[in-house]
Assembly symmetry: C2
Homo-oligomer: 257 residues x 2
DNA sequence: GTGACGTGTTGCATCATGTGCAACGGTCAT
DNA sequence: ATGACCGTTGCACATGATGCAACACGTCAC
């Protein structure tokens, strides 16, 4: 809608691929060097872009700080965190919290496994949406047309032989998940890793987040992991309850006494 | 430099404080509602801003993804990570990696303690710059005028009785650190937490990053932690060595065969 | 039910602002 | 020295961002 801003923001994903110099930025934006320079300068002033010693640009520090503050302002996360920690203390495995937003599912919190073998994931990282247990829960709750539209639009990479292969299979799986109120990922993303997940619901019953427990085969078998399901569901329900209970808190946000 | 982009970017920190509606954004920017609307729409298209169900705006998901990709492109981090993990496996404590950028020091990697008591910190979070051991190392290596200017500009919050109280004390400490080539923080940030840190240097000898091991008093005393210093320094040197060795790698970034 | 707010949204005329150009000034390699 | 290359600056032009006013839609009071 706003050409200038649009161009400026297009620089960010471009730099996310790696550092680039002025000429490269200008070329890929399709604008004159001087224009690119002014855009980069503005981004720089706001700390979103950093100029490294070789004069090339890369993404800047404020970006982290912003993402940081953003994630800390999510009230689901705030409420859920102590529950996640407690669950981790009980079972020892990696615990994740994820939300759906704008065609993506992403982790917003994580408590690391206490076992030496850990899985790779990181807060802020978009989740493998077609296979992850938390993603299934979040998408299963979308309004039907939106769910269908999204399912059609997605790619279905075959991470393993047990990955969801295509849209119909995915929609069928979502129906099951929606029905039973929990979800699993048994080796659908990484051959040796299994997850069980449960939904967190707001006061209106809609799924606002999902949490999961993940563990590699070498630590516990899929069957053993499934025995944790009741515990995971109880934890998710506890969070749901607390979340629905007191949403109007947060006194500090009103600025006038 | 570019007014439009400047205004648009100013929205981000504003939303970082918490969700806001169109009117609030327009007011705080000092522009007309319609202008704010167009800016927000552009930000929205790029996923930097999300419109929640109550129509208010908050920071969006792409922000995380960007911060994510940015941190993964830092080659120091990439090289250092396995070393940090190994160090953590040896000593069991929390290991941090930090860089200096634009008047801030921030963590770019972290391996959690294997002890139940963990310290609060998060990747992307700006570090307590006047007391943290890694910050001392990074600032100690700045060119003298810049270091002095920065030291004068900083605040010196007294987190504890052992926090650095003011600029002269800080500069003195930096001189010591620069001299000895390592740094500590003994209860300067949190009464019961100690750190030892060592610098990672590029081929030209300049400090490009710093790493630290942190542990609370309840796990090991400060003296015990100090016995790890040689190990920490060896690790940092190993990273420095590897980092200086092969910086021109990264073949994939050239797009034409 | 009706009217009066408080929202977010759209079309449009004005001119401020962003734009590309061309010229300048460094740095590096030959 | 010389040329090629890259970042930077000043400037004239017109594109595109701006604020206004009017509209649309909801909520609330009465």
């Amino acid at each position: 809608m706003s050409q200038t801003v649009d161009r400026a923001l297009s620089i960010l994903p471009l730099l996310a691929e790696g550092p680039a110099d002025l000429g490269q930025v200008a070329d890929r934006l399709g604008v004159h060097k001087s224009t690119a320079l002014r855009l980069l300068r503005t981004l720089h002033e706001h700390g979103l872009v950093y100029r490294q010693s070789d004069q090339r640009y890369r993404l800047g520090a404020r970006l982290f700080a912003l993402a940081q503050e953003a994630v800390e302002n999510l009230d689901v996360r705030e409420i859920a965190h102590p529950h996640l920690v407690r669950l981790n203390e009980t079972c020892g495995h990696t615990v994740h919290l994820a939300v759906y937003e704008e065609n993506e599912v992403l982790y917003i919190d994580k408590v690391e496994s206490r076992y030496p073998v850990r899985m790779y994931s990181r807060i802020g990282k978009p989740v493998a949406i077609t296979v992850a247990a938390v993603a299934k829960l979040l998408l299963a709750d979308l309004p039907e047309p939106e769910r269908r539209a999204l399912a059609d639009k997605l790619d279905y990479p075959m991470y393993t032989a047990r990955s969801t292969p295509n849209a119909p299979a995915f929609l069928k799986e979502l129906a099951t998940v929606r029905e039973q109120g929990w979800a699993t990922d048994l080796g659908g993303h990484e051959e040796s890793i299994n997850c069980v997940a449960a939904p967190i619901r707001g006061a209106d019953g809609r799924v606002v987040a999902a949490m999961s427990v993940s563990a590699p085969n070498v630590v516990v078998t899929a069957d053993e992991l499934l025995t944790l399901l009741p515990l995971v569901r109880r934890t998710a329900d506890a969070i749901s309850h607390e979340y629905s209970g007191k949403p109007p808190a947060k006194e500090e946000s009103s600025r006038r006494p």
